[in-house]
């Protein structure tokens, strides 16, 4: 993009907007450096020159009105200029241009789901073509999140009960990190996604590819289940190696006896797992927060069976 003297500080520059952002940032940075060096320099000079051991007589004063007027007016003009430049960039950055390609975004503790106009869905990755203006229409299923793509310099809170939007246009193919940047509890810092910008042909190929609605019967059920555990983001809260994340680990889960908040104990069998997937918080496990989302209506009975097979396979 443009090489910037402050590029050590900056993330990638993925769009024209990011480039305009860099220019404004550099200007404010230079002004800040100028005033910082000026004021600290003068302070140190005064401390040195007027150190009491060097001074015979103090020349007292009440102030200087012209100086006060000067250092009121000049900063006012400067900040107004910065404000105006900022407003011009902001308008371009904030208002999605007409004809933008729309993708819907749903934020949910703790993953990003993307829904495209042709019925495709992805979790954790946003796939877009290079050089096209992309508008994201966003809402949350639970608490406030915030969708942040540093390389594009765009960010917008994702709020339950209303739609918010942001837009960007990637100038080159590549991958960019997406963060959740509004604290949303538990795994806020794991609520990442990837922006994948594809060259137009590659993107078109992806766009046209049908989602595999058939189960791949050539692989064992636990392998299918492993893929589903990633697709439905089970593994963002349930580890496979025994460590406790937000929910109980899947390792050695099958066949265990869990203590529930109602006081009763339950054997983790196939029925238990299915119930937890569909009605997770009806009687939660003691010691874990009751925050699991329900997958009722989203997941088929066959997919549940594959996931159960996967969980069963995770034993020492």
């Amino acid at each position: 993009m443009n090489t910037n003297v402050f590029s050590y500080l900056l993330p990638g520059t993925g769009s024209h907007v990011a480039s305009w952002w860099n220019d404004l940032f550099s200007f404010v940075m230079w002004i800040s450096i100028f005033f910082f060096v000026l004021l600290i320099g003068i302070t140190l000079a005064f401390v040195y020159k007027y150190h009491h051991k060097k001074v015979d007589k103090v020349i007292d004063s009440h102030g200087n009105t012209s100086l006060e007027i000067l250092w009121t007016i000049v900063p006012t003009i400067l900040v107004l200029f910065i404000f105006a430049w900022g407003w011009l960039v902001y308008k371009k950055m904030h208002r999605p241009p007409a004809g933008s390609f729309e993708v819907r975004v749903i934020g949910q503790q703790w993953r990003w789901k993307f829904a495209y106009n042709n019925g495709k869905n992805t979790v954790g990755e946003l796939i877009v073509p290079v050089g096209k203006r992309i508008k994201l229409l966003m809402t949350s299923e639970d608490v406030i999140h915030s969708f942040f793509i540093p390389d594009m310099r765009v960010k917008q809170d994702v709020v339950p009960g209303l739609y918010t939007a942001l837009w960007f246009e990637a100038t080159k193919p590549g991958e960019h990190v997406i963060y959740c940047s509004e604290y949303c509890g538990g795994l806020h810092s794991n609520m990442l996604a990837t922006l994948k910008v594809l060259p137009h042909d590659e993107w078109l190929e992806w766009w046209r590819k049908q989602e595999k609605t058939e189960r791949d019967l050539s692989i064992p059920p636990e392998k299918r289940g492993e893929g589903l555990a990633t697709k439905y983001a089970c593994t963002s809260c349930h580890s496979v190696d025994g460590s406790a994340l937000i929910g109980p680990s899947f390792r050695n889960l099958y066949g265990r006896t869990e203590k529930l908040t109602s006081g009763r104990s339950a054997l983790v069998d196939e029925d238990y797992i299915r119930n937890k997937i569909l009605k997770p918080n009806s009687d939660g496990v003691v010691g874990y927060p009751q925050v699991m989302p329900s997958f009722q209506g989203q997941i088929s009975e066959e997919e549940i069976m594959d996931i159960i097979a996967f969980i069963k396979s995770l034993k020492d």
Binding site: L9, V28, I42, H62, T76, F83, P150, V159, G185
Partner: protein, 534 residues
């Protein structure tokens, strides 16, 4: 000269030895004793809040789990923020130092309502204890900002912390009322409004903000409590409420709150720089008006915390524009302090070293505020470490450095002993270096996109995080060192004269430590607070 009223009699009957025993302290109506009680309580909470900071920074040594899990981390930063804002920085300078100094600077015997003063202390303590109890009963993990809907749904003892903050807010309102009435009614003969020390002007402006803004947070926290308890549906989207409304209510107070934190700090700097430059403050009138300019503007910029919240472009335009204007009176004060040293006679005793440190760190904090006021820059920088660094530079760098300046400046008056100068300067140096080491890397982390309140972070941020963590332990060392030697000084320090710094304000007119009723004879004021030559 002020009529010299310090006598041997005053020293023999000072506020420390006037009556003995813990009951005489806990039921004292003496503003000096109440201020000391506030000081000790707040410093204990500062220690607790500091420990949480070290827990947070230690966990952030590595990109994944270092020693605690995500939930514990979220609680740690919540307690760090809640304790430091509500229990430490907000009351620190006004209720501790202000309580001790304000009546003396007015030439008065006490505040207007001494009993109300004591009640305020107990209201503050009950609020603080309620908040601290939640560490053992339920805990809180919402962040100190309590954003809905998360704060409605999350488990834990959120309501107790909200109640604690409510009570502490009330204590602030009562103290503010007390101070305002004192300034109007109890000024010594000759102490006209234009001869008031600027510390008093700054406290006065702070008190006005406290009285007007604090009720808003009280009501907000009450509404959140009702939402949690009864589902009234004001902030909960699933009940037809508006989660963003909470942010408006919260920030309507919490933005002026940061000026409650910084204006008293500026007040201290206004005292220290003229004394240690032996020169009149540059532009007394401008300095006083700037403080009121900041106070008034502080009420109409709250939306700059919400540029990406979903609020309208019109709101964003207005809040960004007005926020820019805060830079102007703040700049006037910075320039004025520097100009005060011009052609003066500068001494670099510890209070002045802290004041100079304040100028450095507050300048960084203020300039980074301009970045955040600029709309498109804010969109990228908000909710990242850039903001964390900005507010630590202004609040810790600003308020805490100024507090330490004031603590050392008035130490001889409070304690009757001089603090040990060389260890104090070393403490200042360690704290200053530690502070910049901790927070300077955080600006870089933020610009590069690292969001705040992150338990795990991408591995490329490891080095910057580790530098920051090392810095945080340096701050801890600096603070411990400083307070260790302040305690040692109480025993080993030289006896303090009435006015070791040659200052002009009335608190230096009584003995060190002060006579229990401040002055045996009513002082009379004949010249300005910073006139050392005439």
């Amino acid at each position: 000269m002020y009529s010299d009223t310090a006598t041997d009699q005053e020293e023999k009957n000072n506020y420390l030895n006037h009556s003995k025993g813990i009951k005489s302290w806990l039921t004292s109506l003496d503003h000096k004793r109440i201020g000391v009680m506030y000081l000790f309580s707040i410093l204990i909470f500062f220690l607790i809040g500091g420990i949480f900071a070290l827990i947070v920074r230690t966990e952030l040594w590595g990109p994944t789990k270092t020693f605690i899990d995500a939930n514990t981390y979220n609680q740690a930063f919540t307690y760090h923020g809640t304790i430091m804002t509500f229990m430490v920085i907000l009351p620190l300078i006004p209720s501790a130092i202000g309580n001790i100094i304000l009546p003396m600077q007015l030439g008065a015997r006490d505040v207007a309502f001494p009993r109300l003063n004591l009640i305020s202390y107990y209201v503050y303590m009950s609020g603080a204890l309620l908040a601290v109890i939640t560490l053992f009963v339920g805990r809180v993990d919402t962040g100190w900002t309590f954003y809905t809907p998360y704060s409605i749904r999350t488990g834990g003892a959120t309501i107790l912390v909200l109640a604690g903050a409510f009570l502490m807010g009330f204590a602030a309102i009562l103290t503010a009322l007390n101070f305002i009435v004192s300034v109007h009614k109890l000024r010594a003969p000759g102490l006209t409004w234009t001869k008031l020390p600027l510390f008093i002007w700054c406290l006065y402006a702070t008190n006005i903000i406290q009285m007007l803004a604090t009720p808003v947070i009280a009501l907000t926290l009450m509404l959140l409590t009702f939402e949690r308890l009864m589902g009234i549906g004001i902030f909960d989207a699933t009940l037809g409420g508006d989660p963003v409304l909470f942010q408006h209510f919260f920030w309507f107070y919490s933005h002026p709150a940061v000026y409650i934190m910084i204006l008293p700090a500026m007040g201290i700097i206004n005292e220290v720089i003229p004394v240690f430059s032996r020169k009149n403050i540059f532009g007394y009138g401008g300095m006083a008006f700037a403080v009121f300019g900041i106070a008034i503007v502080s009420f109409v910029v709250w939306g700059h915390h919400m540029f990406t919240s979903g609020q309208s472009e019109t709101a964003n335009f207005i809040f960004s524009l007005i926020t820019m204007f805060v830079a102007v009176p703040t700049g006037i004060k910075m320039f004025g302090w520097i100009a005060t040293m011009y052609q003066g006679s500068v001494r670099l005793d510890t209070p002045m070293l802290y004041a100079l440190s304040f100028l450095f760190v507050f300048l960084v904090g203020g300039l980074t505020g301009v970045f955040l006021a600029t709309l498109p820059l804010n969109v990228h920088l908000t909710d990242t470490y850039f903001v964390v660094a900005h507010f630590h530079y202004t609040m810790v760098g600003g308020a805490i450095m100024a507090f330490l300046a004031g603590l050392h400046y008035w130490y001889p008056k409070f304690v009757g002993k001089m603090y040990l100068e060389l260890p104090a300067r070393i403490g200042c140096l360690i704290t200053f270096v530690g502070f910049n080491t901790t927070f300077l890397p955080q600006f870089v982390m933020g610009i590069r996109g690292l969001p705040r309140r992150y338990y795990d972070y991408p591995p490329e941020f490891t080095q910057l995080n580790q530098v920051s963590t090392v810095g945080s332990f340096l701050i801890a060392l600096g603070i411990f060192w400083t307070f260790l030697f302040l305690i040692i000084s109480a025993y080993k320090g030289a006896k303090a004269p009435r006015n070791p710094w040659g200052a002009n304000t009335l608190e230096w007119n009584t003995s060190s430590p002060p006579y229990y009723e401040n002055f045996e004879k009513q002082p009379i004021v004949t010249r300005g607070p910073y006139e050392y030559h005439s």
